[in-house]
Symmetry: C2
Subunit: 222 residues, 2 copies
């Protein structure tokens, strides 16, 4: 599950310390379906210190406060720091503890800083794969080129203002024919309100066509 | 698992549409251990449209592009929007699809906007509880009062500059006695380098005591 969580967000370098059930582990391979490459390439060590020996900066993930003077990062702040260090070719790693017991104090002492998740104090029981998923997600998010908000338009394209204006002109003419505008005085403000309604979201050319079709159909019934 | 993921990050209002195995579901209750309150209070609906009828703004989560013109948000941007709308008493909700099949096109059409996770395009198989965990996490992160980085000092406190200076003064005197400073010319720059080393991180009063103890112990062996 850890291998899958890593691969979901593009992390691939896994080191395993002292695996409880030996290595390779057929059950782990079965559960990792789709992320088996990552397990094949996993490095296995007897001790945490060996696993982190070639790193320059190591984060330890832990839910509880320990009696050690260390900087504590949010996952986002840690991902930002890892990203900045990587850009300077400073090799970083994140330690995750065993299910239930977590990291030992000696592992935390061997780390430069701590990551703590902003969990609900009354219910903070993240499992190992979830903890890995959240850090992997934060790492991916920083590297993502996806804009915060973008318009998915399917097979169509965003309508030009001219297309929208042509539609509005047709709509206003039809409404004039049907005596929708009670008074000439009110007409400009009603037109502005209708234009505002249709410009709230970005109309596509397909949607403008559909609106033309709706006007034609409604007109036919009269 | 969804109930646990929500509660981990403080979300509690769950609506379930057309549950496959009926409701209440003893297996769901067994798996939700610790988050059973949330299942007890869950509202159950026959259709998605009933479930979202009292909301003002609805996000649909989906991995694949659909042929619909909708705004697509990152999880973080969506959490930010939900947070802003909530502050204006605008009720928001997030739709998650069934395991494997995801949301149906009709559910997405009924939503105001889409959330897509920045997953690895070659391996984007988030399960339902993981998708819920990530959005819950983003919501919690926005409301969290925890600073990005803070110093955990255990039972001790950060040392005052005076404490550190007293230690440095003692160290430099001892080093002078042992002829550590080869030349008087070099001494100021060596002292600055040593001070820099000890000021890199925030020393605690406990650590300053330990350093005094180290000097005393090393001196004794001479």
């Amino acid at each position: 599950m850890v291998a899958r969580a890593m691969l979901n967000f593009g992390l691939t370098d896994l080191a395993i310390v002292n695996p409880r059930d030996g290595w390779p582990n057929p059950q782990a391979i079965a559960t990792a379906s789709g992320a088996i490459d990552l397990l094949d390439k996993a490095r296995v060590y007897k001790t945490t210190r060996e696993a982190i020996a070639d790193l320059h900066y190591v984060f330890a993930t832990t839910a509880r406060e320990r009696d050690m003077s260390k900087q504590v990062f949010t996952p986002h702040a840690a991902a930002t720091k890892i990203h900045e260090l990587s850009a300077q070719n400073i090799q970083t790693g994140i330690l995750f503890g065993a299910e239930r017991t977590g990291l030992e104090n000696d592992d935390i002492a061997a780390s430069h800083a701590i990551i703590t998740y902003p969990t609900n104090p009354d219910f903070s029981s993240l499992n190992l794969a979830q903890a890995v998923l959240l850090m992997s997600y934060e790492m991916a998010q920083l590297q993502s080129q996806i804009p915060d908000i973008h318009l998915q338009t399917g097979k169509s394209e965003i309508a030009t203002k001219e297309s929208v204006d042509n539609f509005l002109e047709r709509l206003f003419e039809k409404l004039e024919d049907k005596n929708f505008f009670k008074s000439a005085d009110m007409r400009p403000s009603i037109e502005r309100n209708i234009e505002t309604l249709f410009l709230r979201g970005e109309l596509t050319e397909q949607e403008v066509s559909t609106l033309h079709g709706i006007i034609a159909a409604l007109d036919k019934n009269n």
